[in-house]
Symmetry: C2
Subunit: 284 residues, 2 copies
Amino acid sequence: MSQKITTMSPVTHRPRLSQTHTEAPLTLAVTAVDEHGQVQDKMIACERPLTLYLNWQPIVTLMTLGARPQALALGYLKNQGFISDIEQVESVIVDWEVHSAAVITREDTTHVRDKLAEKTVTSGCGQGTVYGNFTAGLDQIRLTKPHLSQSGIYALLKNLGQYNDTYKNAGAVHGCGICQDDQILSFVEDVGRHNAVDTLAGDMWLDGLKGDDKIFYTTGRLTSEMVIKVAKMGIPVLLSRSGITEMGLSLAQQLGITMIARAKGRHFLIYHGADTVEFDGGQA
Amino acid sequence: MSQKITTMSPVTHRPRLSQTHTEAPLTLAVTAVDEHGQVQDKMIACERPLTLYLNWQPIVTLMTLGARPQALALGYLKNQGFISDIEQVESVIVDWEVHSAAVITREDTTHVRDKLAEKTVTSGCGQGTVYGNFTAGLDQIRLTKPHLSQSGIYALLKNLGQYNDTYKNAGAVHGCGICQDDQILSFVEDVGRHNAVDTLAGDMWLDGLKGDDKIFYTTGRLTSEMVIKVAKMGIPVLLSRSGITEMGLSLAQQLGITMIARAKGRHFLIYHGADTVEFDGGQA
């Protein structure tokens, strides 16, 4: 498989990332009783609140596994449209003792309060979505046409099988990854798949990565909000182990995203963008 | 298995429920291309926005499968603390053409705007949770101690296998059910498990059902927000096909909820409340 060199726009000014009280284990050992009354040792996923502050204004409290709080904070604020320029972000300070992540930016944040009020009309996620504001700007998104192959997808799925540590140990989490060809560049698990997407968006933003030659993998379902977020990251391929919804499909068609679902082992279903996949029989 | 008679407090004044433009199919037929390039006919789950209004004030837009919009509207508003008295609800009007559900109540809703502002600090769900306000009143919850058995749980799991129609046809949805002994009283599927929980909360509220002799089943994970919502419904048993998180467990311990996860067929794990289960060998 040919290796592609990713053209990166280096971030000239990198925010200062700091984290105090860094103890935030991802899994916890507990005991459970099975159907026969036998005690078993089990690992469960941790879940902790993280309150995001933007220039000291409280924005939201996310319930998260807690693996990458700075990236999550940045990615959430970017995806929700609160901040837009990574070069103006001064620092991201995480303190688990007060379960907070503070983002300081030189960007003008005086209208955050109005935006929060607007957000309330259409907020939530598994519950709802930042609908009105969220879909703004979608028609300006232009995604590149990807070039995929059956063998390439097989190879990537095989490599992805090595990830998902927390899931394998403790379940109850969703995993997402930024991939390129058959390589996984970044992988994160979280209690909610939206946190995982936002964390990767934050990662890409910090590293100045472009999305056009990437594949976005998720264990979660491809609903409307997932498709929108990945499009905003500039990524033209969505790959999921789960299923899709009608609105997710409709948005993928509008935005020109190749949508591959039910992907596991040597099986997958392309709901949109089959013309971007070469059916080469699966042998690399 | 003995049949229990549920004591209901009949709702003397039932809200007027109306729905115009009732066409809201739950699944859609589409074509997909598999890994060999073969076209296949598939069903996918629908997903549509539903904007909730309370006394004509916009509250939130939920992305939902759309099976039971009136119950969802009532349950969401109740669980989020916007309304508290079913007897004062005049009507719930759903119009799919403008994807709206309007709830009219005689309850005082002049402080909704303030509440929405408060909500924004801790909003969202898979993304976040209505944290500060949401956990208010938890220490006033008193749940009855349930009496379960290994055979009873097996019988219920077997009956639950007959539900989940949309999931079986199209995937990409979560299902929840209110159960009593081995019977399923009400079952709903939705794109988001929180919508499904809220829909059942709305159902129970409309029918004046008490939660103390019920079991709450979900295909989704038992995270903190799920545990809190079910406790607010007065139900002392949580049964899930999936896993749990640390915070979900911690809340179940605080609230005295029997928490049974990874439940399928003749297997399950009791993370809390094993003392409420009789291990009778599984034969009814």
